[in-house]
Symmetry: C2
């Protein structure tokens, strides 16, 4: 059995990432990386399922021990991707999905340059605006902020390995599935299988 | 419409390449590059379908005019891949299959480093020997020569982009199909589609 690979999936809020990943996980056996956080659990959130809920002291210790692939602070709470669960899954031959933003992805690549980066993009910015509006959860001002942030982030994503355009869920899932299959055909994994 | 891409498909005699490519062409619209040759047509071979049959003088002129992606001489006859049909297909947005050997592939890469190289390999050498034997067309001595040549060629193929192992036709076709889909998600083609 060959070792699993890890895939960073990034994309702006409203692009449809969670729908795509839910569909993809029906087709492939994937470990979806669970983040650690110092924030309190919300009602219905389970430890180890939605997040690993840890206190600040533990979070700090994990940073010092090099136990994170990436970590960051948002509005007073710490979030990070623990290495151990990712590595366990990969050793079991499972591919890993890291659902993280472009800045976090840069931290992961600095540690593990072999990680594959995939950006899920909307067909165009008007369509992203339409999707954000139709969710009905954000004010027009908030939507404008999200759009600006998405456009800024996209500019920094040019080094990604692949761009999947979510013009339809079916198409986006097919492309992600293909990328993962193709990555397992790379020489680093395959060439030595045929010895002489 | 985006420009087509070109894919070099190499692999040893007996690996099942033509069966795989026939199945793949049922799934994707591909232009299968037709070689030019100076040898005489065999019964049933059509000009422009099996080969472009040209005389030595024309072949030499095409070399001088840089009209080949690669060319070589085998047992007194010249064979080459003309650029023009490949380019026409790519301009029409069609992907192109170049069915050529590792040495020819090196010539293509020297001219067009963006060409994707895929090697179709048997699961192991014993299986390739079994397939060559079961075809019943070659003497044991000829089979031994083909095997040795395949093993030598494989050593020089380590720079290929992808290795597809033909353990089953279905699997090999799925992997080739995935590689082509994935290659169309690369930033060179995709990133600029989402302007700001």
């Amino acid at each position: 059995m060959s070792r699993g690979k890890s895939f960073i999936i990034s994309g702006p809020s409203g692009v449809g990432k969670s729908t795509i990943l839910t569909e993809l996980m029906k087709k492939r056996d994937l470990y979806f990386s669970v983040s650690a956080t110092t924030r309190d659990p919300r009602p219905g959130e389970e430890n180890g399922v939605h997040y690993h809920f840890i206190d600040r002291e533990t979070f700090q210790k994990w940073i010092e021990n090099g136990e994170f692939l990436e970590h960051a602070e948002f509005v007073g709470n710490c979030y990070g991707t623990p290495k151990r669960y990712v590595d366990e899954a990969m050793e079991q031959g499972r591919d890993v999905i890291l659902d993280i933003e472009v800045q976090g992805a840069e931290q992961v690549i600095a540690l593990r340059p072999e990680t594959v980066r995939i950006y899920i993009a909307p067909p165009n910015w008007e369509e992203l605006e339409r999707r954000l509006t139709s969710r009905g959860t954000d004010s027009p001002e908030k939507i404008r902020q999200r759009l600006e942030r998405a456009q800024e982030e996209y500019k920094t994503a040019h080094a990604y390995d692949y761009f999947v355009i979510n013009d339809s869920i079916e198409n986006a899932v097919r492309e992600l599935d293909s990328i993962m299959t193709a990555e397992h055909c790379k020489p680093a994994e395959r060439y030595a299988q045929l010895a002489d």
